[in-house]
Symmetry: C2
Subunit: 250 residues, 2 copies
């Protein structure tokens, strides 16, 4: 069933939708009165709504039922990636959205090969926002992840205090056999906590960057004994979080 | 440090390598006596070896130490994917290899859009084997996953008795809120067990296919409350297995 994120407050009454959503429902999907869609409100409330009337530029719907199942991770995980090459960031955002990330951040790591100016970052941000929206709708989530592309590493550092916990996926920790920290964190987190998970680009995170993040309270984590690529590691972490907090929960 | 899978038995003596491995060590990496590489033997034994001599067409190495850390999942997970579109199977093999899969199978599902004849399957299998090998080396694994591309769904069915457990990632189970089976299996498995995990193509697995797999002992599993794409779902399962069996282990 089609799913639309809408920008109106949840009232419990009827909803008259215009613009892109109207266009998609009426012109693209050619839906008719009586048919149903999911509507998702800004505060993550999601309902099943039935079309009652189609006007020339708006469509009117009423709530049929709430969407029952909680679709979101109980914690808010922001994936922060040192800018990787090519279109890997698109891949991270798409798959990371399917896997439940609350937000994505990109930052220029010392080892990042790509250098994007403010104009390029602006364009890339728009593209990534579109990818996140489409992936959130397809995976039937109740929120669309936010995207922030930073111009300097110092902006990442400045944002650290906003988080309850900071995890650093560090290849050297994995090689040294660090296997305990991720599970400790995931069994200790409380619902509603904001977690920042930092991943290096292809060249890895540099020692100076590690020092800064650890000094701000960051915890070095191994993600299992196999070395994961820059675009795979965030998916491992999100899957582990889902498994621990949604499936295995003890 | 470079890593080479070699086809000689582990003897504990010196090893004289020729062919592609010789070419890569001597011509591509331009290594010299005294330098070290990882050598991985067919039975997964892995050592650190030092170059003692470079001849015109061979290179001689001796063992310096065993590779200590176990790099492989304690269970053997085969990922069986209903043929997906485009190059998604390449992604599944690459990322699935990083994440520890023991083997990959492709099969023609009813909902598979692509139809490949024996010749195409042969070519694709070669390509996938190369991808698996390269990914295994980069992620520092001790074995290269095997690839099998099947011509008929019945071949998959015929292979089912070889496995200790069969998991079916079923979207309808996730939508219905099935959240218990994967964790039950992962907390119950014993080291050395052979697990087959079956994933549908973009169109999903058909009820008739589900019936056949369940009749053979397959267990329907949800992979969390968010719907995952055909190429993401196997990565979730492998990450969950690694998290439970390598990190969280209780």
């Amino acid at each position: 069933m089609q799913r639309y994120f809408i920008d109106l407050p949840y009232t419990g009454d009827s909803y008259e939708l215009a613009g892109e959503v109207f266009h998609h429902i009426v012109r693209v999907m050619r839906m008719e009165p009586g048919e149903e869609v999911y509507l998702v409100f800004p505060d993550q409330m999601a309902i099943i709504a039935k079309i009652t009337e189609i006007k020339s530029e708006t469509v009117v719907l009423v709530e049929v039922a709430k969407e029952e199942q909680a679709k979101e991770l109980p914690i808010f995980v922001t994936i922060a990636s040192g800018y990787p090459k090519g279109d890997k960031l698109e891949w991270i955002v798409q798959k990371g959205t399917e896997l439940g990330a609350a937000a994505f951040m990109g930052f220029p790591a010392r080892a990042s090969v790509v250098k994007w100016d403010a104009k390029k970052l602006g364009k890339k941000q728009q593209r990534l926002e579109k990818i996140a929206q489409e992936a959130a709708e397809q995976s039937q989530r109740q929120r669309t992840p936010k995207i922030q592309l930073l111009g300097q590493f110092s902006e990442l550092v400045a944002a650290l205090p906003e988080y309850d916990r900071i995890l650093i996926a560090y290849e050297e920790s994995a090689k040294a056999g660090e296997m305990a920290h991720l599970a400790q964190v995931l069994t200790d987190v409380q619902p509603g906590e904001r977690i920042l998970a930092v991943f290096g680009p292809e060249g890895g995170i540099m020692p100076a960057e590690i020092e800064t993040l650890v000094a701000a309270g960051g915890i070095l984590c191994g993600l299992g004994p196999r070395i994961l690529r820059t675009e795979t590691a965030p998916l491992y972490l999100l899957s582990a979080a889902s498994y621990q907090l949604e499936l295995a929960k003890e």
